[in-house]
Symmetry: C2
Subunit: 777 residues, 2 copies
């Protein structure tokens, strides 16, 4: 894999502008602050290939669904995260020439994302056809402190001439979504104003009726002195701005500060929206660029204190994991429980910005371990959608609740029957997240207040979705698609059956726990949901008689019925030129092959380490992993964690590498569409759950850490039951610094140890305690 | 089922205009002549709900494919039969008022399709707001004798006033397809001319580059005298015509004859197209309306002599079967082997006018029995597409040839993976049609010249599509969709496995037969296709070890693996309000249910009566039919034939009724979209193969006829190996009139009998020879 960007622990550095790779770089250099975000496209005009995307969290458009043949139960629309008014635009001209990197000659190009500070800068020298040399530098940040605000600075210096520089800062609502089905415009203009020192553009979506006010103010400086050139207003349809010209001496620096406020009707009533937006802009202008920057940096520092993970002895790995954490924190901070984590965050339009099971299965533990309140908001998001999940199940003729495969507001947005109707295991991950939260935090208040209601409805769904087969006296689950989407419409997917029975069991256990602890709350719930003892008996019967396909001869679980009837082949037997299969093989061939897209049986073994011993895990891993092409960005991390658990350290590291720098090294050649946000959490988990072997069992924190041979050590911080712990892992010892909270007893390498607040505890490794097993492959 | 139309043996009569049912009536009153066709929409302006469709055989548009998520192997386009220039249009006004049946008051409405003569008439009295009463009558026909021509007559009579009538005959190219994805215009104008006595409009499709010239000439008469009012030319974009006014006395009849010629670049070089079209128009004008009408009637009479089927004692049934034969003959006459039979003929746009396996499985025998040359052209159509079928298989990574599920030019047009990639049994029906043709006609020249090459490529496909399963030492076919499209992506569909193995066997046998009879031809073919003895050995191995799912306990074949794991329910247990399931149940629920859309195992038993005894047929019928909802229009006819074979006569008749008047009685409430052309052949087969029990075994014609209790008798004509036979079936006897050809020995009720040319042979029934079995259900 070619490393494109300069290696630095805190920065992503691009030292050459490659127009052919522009979309890739735009994805990588995306910024966000939970409320809004944008790709790394340019401030000035650019006539080359680009995906100029500016997105607002939760602002979607119900675009028509493209579908071959509509089937009952399909949604009428596919919600799309919507490209919204471009607020970074600044046209730049020197003399008669306009700056456009697709047309102009430049040198000394450098683009740099400072992950620590959350800032993107770009600089180069523009060599004009007339011999003029102009230094240009752009800086932007989206405030993490006040997420309606963003700032950018443009600095222009004539190096070998004196002359007139022309700057045209603007807001432009005339944008389209690249993934629009019909190249339809999603927005219409509501209002615009260009005043002397501010401009406002108000746009409304055509169908979903989101109104968005975007306001800007600009300041100009010649070196350090503010200047006030005359401004010519621009007030075109869907566009506002000013044009101004400044006479600049050789070597003088012309600086433009552009301050932006973006407010949406998601957050404020439409009636006062414009005033609120202008008030925020005025407040920002009063503070000024430097103060806004300082405020933003403080918040960035705080986020990093919570979530940083350091790696000693491997700069590439360090850069990779920090990039992943950075993008996760830019995308979702948990301030707004109406939001969730789109698979591309703010970095692209693919997957429509919707919520997938990725959230619960991959992202959730990252937030849970670093900031449990954020995780709780992710759970609450699903509670808010419970009624729509009930409606979704009813639409299919089933009881209880079926959460959508893809959603933005609780309704199903996806339109392939084999996914929408059949990839129902997603319900299992939602139950599992409730379990994980309760188990990790020891706080059952979420379970009692909200979680139990969700669990009951999920259980009702499973109870109505199973088929009792009298000949076998067993319960089957027919017609599903497992996590391995390279098989569709199979019977008795082991993972799905496992998650279904587990959900019923966890629900029954939770009802019992709550009955003992919060009887009154339970009684109200039982009455409200009409929960009946016969229902609970039915659940118990299903648990007892659930069918789990297995192959006794091989000592493995069978992915689903008849998986083993397929022609058996290993990935190692494939011609590498045919990989990835989904770019080379017909769908027919993929479906009929035994190749697996992502962990399926192994996903279940990952979730329930206490239920299956290491030998069982090893047999299944040895069978399935060599048949897995990892063509989901979510696959490698789970496999890496399992390899760590088995003791396949080389394999664990190899798989970790596939997740850790997936986007920076464009491993799947698809980062042009945006980064793989939800898989980024997986790389963090591969370290924390994999290398460090972190688990919580019956309320007790356990670690079984090792250090990959390629590293010297690593450290990370977790929040656990009111404590903050910083864990430093080295090959020969673990150091725990307890930053807050009460003393804690935990297990390291199976040995009990106690940490104290404010203290640093060192646990030396004993060689025999780090299991070593012969590596597979 | 409500009978909407007047019952008449030769006519379909509508006596009331129901705007809410207008689309339904438009479908029913469609006309065609293989080359072109149109729905029964109105000549005059109509502002109500309507689907004004004018279609040209083989003229298609490659519209963009709508699809959720594109998968490798999907086609880039969906071909659509394209709505083309409206040539029936005549605006009508009396005084200041325009005729529009959505706005005007009318009485004595009558619309009548004369099936014998192939003519549509419509008449009514228009009662104007000003008290004016005007009698209007419209007649149209599409010449079966010269299929570039069509004629229409408009007769207007002021009943209680004298005044000016205004007529505006026109051609209008500004039409859209209702099933366009993007409401895109498919046509652009190439040229137009309005001369004094003719007008020409030339349109070209935007992508597929078909050019179509449409020309018209009109004559006007007052009572019987031709009149020549001054004409005002209309030459608007995509529209040509004239407007003229005629002063008419009370009781005088103003008649307009509009003669039309339509020529396409499918048939003539573009360069001379306009001249050819005008020459045809001039020829028609020289002949005049009456002569064209006489010529058309002669051809209609000839067609009916070949294909009529009479039923004694049941006018409803008689009307129904004649309507079906009428539509079949209007749609496809076999003159052009580049054409085929769209599921809606010229009566609607649904299914895009493409060719489906319906042709071979359902339509083919109708043409084979009535005119084998037509059937041969249907086979040849597939031969012409063999290269594209090879490319289609290669695109999926398979060998040999896979014919498309839907096609218009040999390329696949459908875009659902579970159909396109998996409903591969279609290949079996294409092989079976070759077998049927050869067996029925005794003519192996098609097999030798073309058929064998197709068979070899079909066999290669199957040989590459099977999976050898070493644990079982059997060949499996994984991941298919059978004829029952209410299960998708199943393993080992019994019908598919049966057709695959049978195709291999028939190919091997044919190779052997041809080796004996036409060795040199075979050697050339073997050399050209690189056919290798090891390939033939592999085919033999597959035949020997093909796996056929069955349930020994029930003595039935299992539709596919795990079908019997489903919850077993009968259609009789369903709430009738939930039928049809495809309008009430989610796709998920349908897929997981045991309900069957159309014959699947039974389709196989239908094809191979010599392989499975009646007891086996009965057990499978008794099991599957009660689980079949017949939601394909193709299902009931096959079941009816099988019921006849078993001796379930009531059931056979009940199922026959579902096919016989499917459209006239709008049984499935979907005739608005067009009639069910390909199922119409099924009702003919239900009589000929079912009630009459006609079969050809080892070259010998066999009949085992009975008369349904509701009828007195029936008769039909067949062409068999150079003979024409008219068969008249009564309860107590069969009469055979041999119209042409040599003497023939055949079996009736298992008894050998001999017919002689020009003679009428009467075979009396013997009661014991007509099998009676207790009826099911």
């Amino acid at each position: 894999m070619k490393v494109k960007f300069g290696v630095d622990e805190w920065r992503i550095i691009e030292q050459e502008f490659d127009p052919a790779a522009n979309r890739f770089s735009e994805s990588i250099f995306s910024l966000g602050n939970e409320h809004m975000g944008l790709r790394g496209f340019f401030e000035e005009d650019y006539s080359g290939d680009s995906l100029p995307g500016t997105y607002l969290a939760g602002v979607f458009y119900p675009d028509k669904t493209r579908v071959g043949w509509w089937k009952i139960g399909y949604p009428e629309f596919f919600a799309k995260m919507i490209n919204s008014a471009n607020w970074i635009g600044v046209k730049i001209a020197s003399g008669g020439a306009s700056l456009d990197l697709a047309q102009c000659r430049i040198r000394d190009f450098r683009r740099e994302l400072d992950m620590k500070e959350g800032r993107l800068t770009r600089s180069f020298v523009w060599s004009g056809a007339d011999g003029r040399e102009t230094a240009c530098c752009f800086t932007r940040f989206l405030s993490m402190a006040e997420n309606n605000l963003a700032c950018l600075a443009v600095e222009i210096t004539p190096l070998n001439y004196a002359g007139t520089l022309s700057l045209t800062p603007y807001l432009d609502g005339d944008v389209v979504n690249e993934d629009a089905n019909y190249a339809e415009q999603f927005w219409e203009e509501v209002a615009q104003t260009v005043a002397s020192d501010w401009a406002l553009l108000v746009m409304r979506t055509k169908k979903s009726e989101f109104t968005v006010a975007t306001a800007m103010a600009v300041q100009l400086f010649l070196d350090r002195d503010e200047v006030f050139p005359s401004r010519e207003a621009i007030a075109a349809p869907q566009k506002v701005g000013w044009s101004c010209e400044v006479q600049v001496e050789q070597g003088q620096k012309l600086t433009l500060h552009k301050l932006i406020a973006v407010c949406t009707s998601r957050d404020y009533p439409v009636a006062g929206l414009n005033e609120i937006c202008l008030a925020k802009l005025r407040g920002a202008a009063a503070q000024g660029y430097a103060a806004l920057w300082a405020e933003h940096r403080r918040e960035m520092t705080r986020k990093w204190e919570e979530s940083d993970l350091t790696i000693r002895g491997d700069h590439l790995a360090q850069q990779g994991i920090r990039y992943n954490i950075f993008q996760l924190n830019q995308t979702y901070t948990g301030k707004d429980p109406r939001l969730n984590i789109g698979p591309k965050g703010f970095t692209g339009e693919k997957y429509g910005g919707g919520t997938y099971w990725d959230t619960e299965a991959f992202c959730f533990p990252f937030y849970l371990y670093t900031d449990p309140e954020v995780a709780r908001n992710l759970l609450y998001y699903r509670y808010l959608h419970l009624q729509r999940a009930r409606e979704n199940a009813a639409q299919l003729g089933l009881k209880g609740a079926l959460y959508p495969m893809v959603t933005v507001d609780g309704r199903e947005c996806h339109n392939e029957w084999e996914i929408t109707f059949e990839e129902i295991h997603r319900n299992g991950a939602i139950a599992y997240a409730i379990y994980q939260y309760t188990e990790y935090t020891g706080d059952s208040s979420y379970l009692i207040q909200y979680g139990l209601e969700v669990l009951v409805e999920l259980s009702r769904f499973w109870a109505s979705r199973v088929t009792y087969q009298p000949r076998r006296d067993q319960y089957l689950i027919l017609g599903v698609t497992g996590p391995n989407e390279y098989e569709n419409n199979v019977n008795n997917n082991w993972y799905t059956n496992t998650m279904a029975a587990w959900t019923l069991e966890y629900t029954l256990n939770s009802l019992e726990t709550v009955r003992r602890g919060a009887g009154a709350a339970l009684e109200r719930l039982v009455a409200r949901l009409g929960l009946d003892p016969s229902e609970l008996r039915q659940w118990a019967a299903i648990i007892a008689k659930m069918y789990y396909p297995r192959c006794e001869a091989a000592g493995i679980f069978e992915q689903n019925d008849q998986y083993l009837d397929k022609e058996m082949q290993l990935v190692s037997e494939l011609d590498p030129a045919e990989l990835p299969l989904n770019k080379h093989w017909s769908w027919d061939r993929i479906l009929r092959s035994n190749f697996i897209k992502q962990a399926d049986v192994l996903q279940g073994l990952y979730f329930f380490p206490e239920r299956f011993d290491r030998e069982c895990l090893r047999r299944n891993f040895d069978f399935y992993e060599p048949r897995t092409v990892h063509e989901s960005s979510l696959s490698a991390s789970v496999h890496s964690i399992l390899a760590s658990r088995i003791g396949y350290r080389d394999k664990a590291y190899e798989l970790y590498l596939r997740t850790a720098r997936l986007d920076l090294d464009n491993y799947n050649a698809d980062t042009d569409d945006g980064v793989h946000l939800t898989s980024m959490a997986g790389s963090w988990l591969a370290i924390v759950q994999g290398f460090a072997g972190m688990l919580v069992r019956e309320g007790r924190l356990q670690l079984n850490p090792y250090v990959p041979a390629q590293w010297q050590g690593y450290s990370f911080q977790i929040a656990f039951r009111g404590r903050k712990l910083k864990l430093e892992i080295a090959a020969d010892r673990v150091c725990i610094r307890q930053l807050s909270g009460e003393a804690l007893s935990l297990d390291i390498w199976g040995r009990e140890c106690l940490t104290q607040p404010g203290q640093r505890t060192v646990i030396p490794a004993r060689p025999e305690s780090a299991p070593r097993v012969q590596d597979a492959g």
